[in-house]
């Protein structure tokens, strides 16, 4: 009797499983720029589909993910500024609560091997648990988010369309958000067009690129303009938060004050700069690199031990080059904007 019941259950299970496979999704293939490195995030366990992407996009823009329904991911990650927090040196969450770090730009994330300024997050899929639970961000619980989603007819339909199961689970919630964040690829700036020989640089931009390659590219590596590693670029410890950076994760003394080397793509719009947003202008950043670094700072990266010297003209050239990293197609791409 029992055995028959079991067999029946298994048969039902198999039917359901094949039913799941039978849902019609539209697979998406991310177009990766030529000659770029192989991405770290591979979609092996999260096949990209139009349905999954659109669900993730809706979730990214939904303030109901926060405890008081006021803050969405996009509140701190605004598309027009490269998905960073406009104008705030540190992020602001629900009830105006202040965080301790500047919201990073969300650009070309599939090439990152870790996330957050200290690299504490090891996989793009699990990153959203942080803002959802953080008291100074969305201050919510995964359980409450799932309850909200499972009470919504609209979401039930979207989860079904994306995953063949109308019940929202944390796994599918996280995978769909990752389908959206992983798609945020910026690769059509003037710099990219110049490299592809589609446009030419001005004399000033060319000189800026030269200066960049000499002084900056060892850490902000082309073509991603970041590095999957941590370094101290000579910033003194911020007095407000005493942020020790990577050390908080690794507990290794020499990791003190080391932060992830961030991308400089769309840097014209992602101000304020640095993990604590201490600089508002690129000029201030350059002044830091030329005059703000104490070369006997024991945490300072070896790559910055030789003083960087730039004339005022050269600083202008370097900034002109940094502006070529702006990718308007990315910043105004309708696919990434608030879903209507």
């Amino acid at each position: 009797m029992n055995k028959w019941f079991f067999t029946l259950l298994i048969a039902l299970g198999v039917m359901l499983a094949s039913f799941r496979l039978a849902i019609d999704t539209n697979p998406l293939i991310l177009e990766l720029p030529d000659k770029w490195p192989t991405p770290v995030y591979t979609f092996a366990t999260n096949p990209l589909t139009e349905e999954g992407f659109q669900l993730g996009r809706k979730l990214f823009y939904d303030p109901n993910l926060s405890r008081d329904q006021t803050i969405s991911c996009a509140s701190c990650h605004l598309q027009y500024t490269g998905f960073t927090h406009v104008d705030h040196n540190v992020s602001h969450g629900i009830e105006g609560r202040k965080g301790t770090r500047n919201a990073p730009a969300l650009i070309n994330l599939i090439w990152n091997s870790s996330f957050h300024w200290d690299g504490g997050v090891n996989n793009l899929e699990v990153q959203p648990i942080n803002p959802i639970q953080h008291p100074a961000e969305m201050d919510n619980t995964l359980a409450a988010v799932l309850e909200y989603l499972n009470e919504s007819k609209e979401y039930k339909a979207l989860f079904y369309a994306a995953f063949g199961d109308s019940t929202a689970s944390s796994k599918q919630l996280l995978k769909s958000i990752a389908q959206f964040t992983s798609s945020l690829i910026s690769s059509n700036s003037k710099y990219d067009q110049y490299i592809r020989k589609e446009v030419d640089f001005t004399k000033q931009e060319k000189n800026g690129l030269k200066l960049f390659r000499k002084n900056c590219a060892a850490c902000h590596k082309e073509p991603l303009f970041n590095m999957n590693d941590f370094a101290s670029n000579g910033l003194t410890m911020d007095t407000a938060y005493n942020d020790v950076g990577r050390y908080a994760i690794s507990q290794i003394g020499t990791d003190s004050l080391q932060f992830r080397v961030p991308t400089l793509r769309n840097i014209e719009y992602t101000f304020p700069y640095m993990h604590d947003g201490r600089f508002r202008k690129l000029k201030e950043v350059l002044n830091h690199y030329t005059d703000g670094i104490e070369t006997d700072n024991p945490y300072l990266s070896k790559k910055l031990r030789n003083k960087i010297v730039l004339s005022p003209e050269e600083k202008k050239d370097l900034i002109a080059f940094l502006h070529t990293l702006t990718d308007r197609e990315f910043l105004y791409n309708r696919r990434f904007s608030f879903p209507r």
Binding site: N122, E125, L142, K171, A178
Partner: protein, 209 residues
């Protein structure tokens, strides 16, 4: 005759052929010095070694054992054999693979509260309570290098269908080595030491075989 006996045994234990049960007996009766309020840990990658030299490895073997959820303390291993078991091997905690694999479900669902978001990884075990009226709180995890906290142990067994693993954290909680550590909540040297201690609280209840 023997098969009749086995069938009778199987019926009475609720196990069919091809199933083995592993039962975790959590010995946490309130001791006058220790009161345990939260006790949860992962058990993964269970392997049974049979006396004929063969073995069985459970697939996708990740289990969260929770003091507050009696059902979680009784595992059924499907697809195992009915041969005599000589040894059981399992990992207390989670292997490094699942710690870097992104969003997972089942007992590994981050919603279970055994997950760190800010420093990605599973909390391999959680014990909270009071010792000599002083609160203590241990959330032990970490999967990298010398700060790894998963511990694999092998215990001799003499059983056919049911294994009873006795888990006695109280002697460890009362050990003088721990009297200063009242709160360990991040991966690091201290957590890894805790994991060394914790693994010694597991043994097999032989009289139950």
């Amino acid at each position: 005759m023997r098969s009749v006996f086995i069938i009778a045994f199987l019926v009475s234990s609720g196990l069919s052929s091809g199933q083995t049960s592993v039962n975790f007996e959590l010995a946490v009766e309130n001791n006058e010095n220790v009161e345990i309020s939260v006790f949860r840990f992962y058990i993964s990658n269970i392997i049974l070694n049979y006396s004929d030299g063969s073995n069985f490895s459970e697939k996708n073997s990740y289990h969260l054992i929770d003091l507050d959820e009696p059902k979680s303390q009784h595992l059924t291993l499907n697809g195992s054999s009915d041969k005599e078991i000589q040894q059981i091997t399992f990992t207390i905690g989670t292997d490094s693979l699942v710690n870097v694999s992104g969003a997972l479900d089942g007992d590994l669902d981050p919603i279970k509260g055994m997950y760190w978001a800010w420093n990605t990884g599973y909390i391999n075990f959680k014990i909270e309570g009071k010792r000599n009226e002083q609160p203590f709180e241990y959330h032990i995890g970490g999967y990298t290098g010398k700060h790894a906290t998963a511990r694999t142990i092998s215990l001799p067994v003499k059983a056919e269908k049911s294994i009873h693993v006795n888990v006695q954290p109280i002697p460890i909680l009362l050990s003088p080595d721990l009297s200063k550590a009242t709160s360990v909540l991040i991966p690091g040297e201290e957590a890894s030491k805790m994991a060394d201690f914790f693994q010694t609280s597991f043994d097999i209840l032989l009289e139950n075989e």
